[in-house]
């Protein structure tokens, strides 16, 4: 205790000396109410505490970043409410976003249902179960540098989300970067799917949870948010009817009525390494289809590649299946019209006989 106080005193003296001798910290306006915290300690990049022998934790706050964050108008003590003295009489408590972001707060902190959703998520659950690595708000949103999601420098800006998630999920991130979505994000296509488009952000649930966007029955719907969008799919040059076709084919119907082991989008297209079918690495490349279908259909051979996928029988693009469906359509119409006419004639004849007593 005594050591820390004297260290703080030393730094305090040092900082004051620095202010006098240089202009390094001259950017911090002295009239800024946060100035004291920064000038005295937290503005120094070297300011740190020893958490264990030889292990340090930085206590530096990049004030420039803070002044660009959503909280730029706030005072340090707005959040660190237990700090009243410098140097602090005891170690300040951990703060939590819900200190302000709760329903009915008077400081005007925006509030949504998201914190509640987070509690239900895999991350929230892991945190509750005491996993020290489980992320909470700050791991994704940042601490002092929390920016709005529409700010292109924010950690939760669309295009930055893969990187943010990748800080923990490094293996998935590297695979994702290879995928058609990852490549598009790297190229700066804002519509490309990022982690949260499929996994959701705050209500990120396990795929075993029926409420999850990735629960077997919900996968097609999740992909459909983009892949059924005519305009968007036109831009990237693929059909917007593929999800519809999936729902009409046997896999889709089986899934709809509770056969959970049946193939959904991700079973064939992969989870993260989604690649176009003309890419030889792709799971849906004709060369690889036997293996991909073979995951469920043990006898699958290269024959599975001979034919079209995502068929809509009423669409001429379905080829031979379209013609088969047309044949039956016209056969049914003509046969039934004939039979119906015969029935009407028969009815007319019989009723006339009855009327005339013939």
């Amino acid at each position: 205790m005594k050591g820390r106080v004297s260290a703080a005193a030393l730094i305090l003296t040092g900082t004051l000396l620095l202010i006098m001798l240089s202009t390094a910290h001259g950017q911090i306006p002295l009239r800024d109410p946060n100035g004291r915290c920064l000038l005295e300690c937290h503005g120094d990049p070297e300011f740190k505490e020893e958490t264990a022998p030889g292990q340090y934790r930085t206590l530096y706050v990049d004030y420039e970043q803070f002044k660009l964050s959503v909280h730029r108008e706030k005072l340090c003590v707005d959040c660190h409410t237990d700090v009243t003295l410098i140097p602090h009489e005891r170690r300040p408590e951990e703060i939590h976003c819900l200190q302000c972001h709760y329903q009915g707060n008077v400081v005007g902190a925006p509030i949504t249902e998201r914190p509640e959703k987070y509690k239900e998520s895999v991350h929230g659950k892991a945190l509750q179960h005491g996993n020290p690595d489980a992320p909470d708000c700050r791991n994704c949103h940042g601490v002092h540098d929390a920016r709005a999601p529409y700010d292109s420098l924010s950690t939760v800006y669309r295009m930055n989300i893969p990187k943010t998630c990748g800080r923990c999920h490094l293996d998935v991130y590297t695979v994702y970067l290879e995928s058609v979505h990852g490549v598009a994000v790297t190229r700066g296509v804002p519509e490309a799917a990022v982690c949260s488009d499929c996994h959701r952000e705050h209500d990120l649930l396990s795929p075993q949870d029926p409420r999850s966007s990735l629960y077997p029955m919900n996968v097609a719907g999740t992909c459909a948010t983009c892949h059924a969008n005519e305009e968007l799919m036109h831009q990237v040059g693929i059909s917007a009817e593929q999800v519809e076709a999936f729902k009409e084919n046997f896999h889709g119907i089986a899934l709809e009525f509770g056969v959970l082991r049946v193939a959904r989008c991700t079973s064939c297209h992969e989870y993260h390494l989604i690649l176009p079918s003309d890419d030889p690495r792709s799971s849906v490349h004709p060369e690889n289809l036997a293996q991909t279908c073979g995951q469920c259909h043990p006898n699958a051979t290269d024959n599975v590649a001979k034919g079209k996928f995502h068929l809509i029988p009423s669409n001429p693009e379905a080829g031979i299946v379209f013609w088969v469906s047309q044949f039956f359509k016209w056969l049914t119409i003509s046969v039934l019209a004939g039979l119906f006419l015969h029935i009407l004639l028969d009815l007319y004849g019989r009723l006339r006989h009855k009327a005339t007593g013939g």
């Binding site: 068929l311 088969v324 039956f328 039934l336």
Partner: protein, 302 residues
């Protein structure tokens, strides 16, 4: 005679009773009844008598019908074997339709309700395959039956002929009222022949494509994917055609037409009453009578 003129009897009875009752009441009360009293008595008696007479009449009519029915001559149209074939086929087709249509119309609310009720596709698909097995069974059974003497005879009679086309045109003319002449059908009319041959087409398509879908893992090994795609499309489309043909065409011609409505038991009991035999299969009827006469002659000679 009394049953035929219930009104007059009723009137006599009412008046008689009224007179008797009025006298009796006057004697009891020792007071003459006025016109209104008499009218009321008359009305009450009339109602009572009407009800009892109506019941009596209905009972007599029913008895007469039952007697007529019991007396009427029947012919055996279908043997036990054919009747069993039909019932197995009917059960299997109904099972297949009930479990198959909700898959075709999976987006409809009733289909969703059906799957909720039955516990999902896994269970329904088992029932569908039970129905399919029965249908395959009856197909094989029928082929074997065609080898028997009765089978060979019926198959011969079911082959389409020129007469069927002429019958069709004559029937159409007759139904439109352009002619009084009615086509004279033999054992099988052109309508029945159509039904028989339509089942062949349906069986080949449905069983053929159905087997591909059932054993898709095996099919996938030896056949290109598009064959399975065609199989699925054809299975779904032909199912619809067959269902409509059965429900609209077959049921109308056998059960729901005005002369048979609401139910024609011949295919289940095998029996056809004489009057329907004469009306619907006059040529077969004549043939039967001739055969009977010939037999009787032979018996007399022998």
């Amino acid at each position: 005679m009394t049953e035929d003129h219930p009104e007059s009897t009723e009137k006599q009875l009412t008046e008689e009773l009224q007179r008797e009752l009025a006298t009796e009441l006057e004697a009891q009360l020792n007071h003459p009844l006025d016109e209104a009293d008499k009218k009321r008595i008359k009305q009450l008696i009339k109602e009572q008598v009407q009800v009892s007479l109506r019941q009596k009449k209905q009972k007599l009519e029913a008895e007469r019908q039952a007697l007529l029915k019991a007396r009427e001559e029947y012919f055996v149209r279908f043997g036990l074997n054919v009747r069993l074939q039909h019932i197995v086929m009917a059960v299997s087709v109904i099972l297949l339709i009930v479990t198959g249509l909700p898959i075709k119309f999976h987006e409809a609310a009733w289909a969703q309700f059906f799957f909720r009720l039955t516990g999902g596709l896994e269970a329904v698909r088992i029932i569908h395959r039970v129905g399919a097995s029965l249908l395959i069974l009856v197909g094989i059974w029928h082929m074997l039956w065609l080898l028997t003497a009765t089978g060979r005879r019926d198959f011969w009679l079911l082959l389409p002929r020129r007469k069927d086309l002429l019958d069709f045109f004559l029937n159409a003319k007759q139904m439109l009222g352009l002619t009084k002449e009615r086509p004279q059908f033999g054992r099988y009319s052109y309508v029945e022949k159509f039904d028989y041959w339509a089942v062949y087409w349906g069986m080949v398509i449905m069983i053929g494509t159905g087997l591909f879908l059932w054993f898709h893992d095996l099919a996938m090994t030896y056949l290109p994917k598009y064959v399975l795609d065609i199989a699925r499309e054809a299975h779904s489309d032909e199912a619809m055609l067959a269902t409509l043909a059965i429900v609209i065409w077959h049921w109308y011609n056998t059960h729901f037409n005005p002369s048979a409505f609401p139910f024609n038991p011949t295919i289940f009991t095998g029996k056809i009453p004489k009057h329907r035999m004469i009306e619907e299969h006059p040529l077969e009827y004549e043939e039967m009578l001739q055969k009977r006469e010939q037999q009787q002659e032979r018996e007399r000679e022998g």
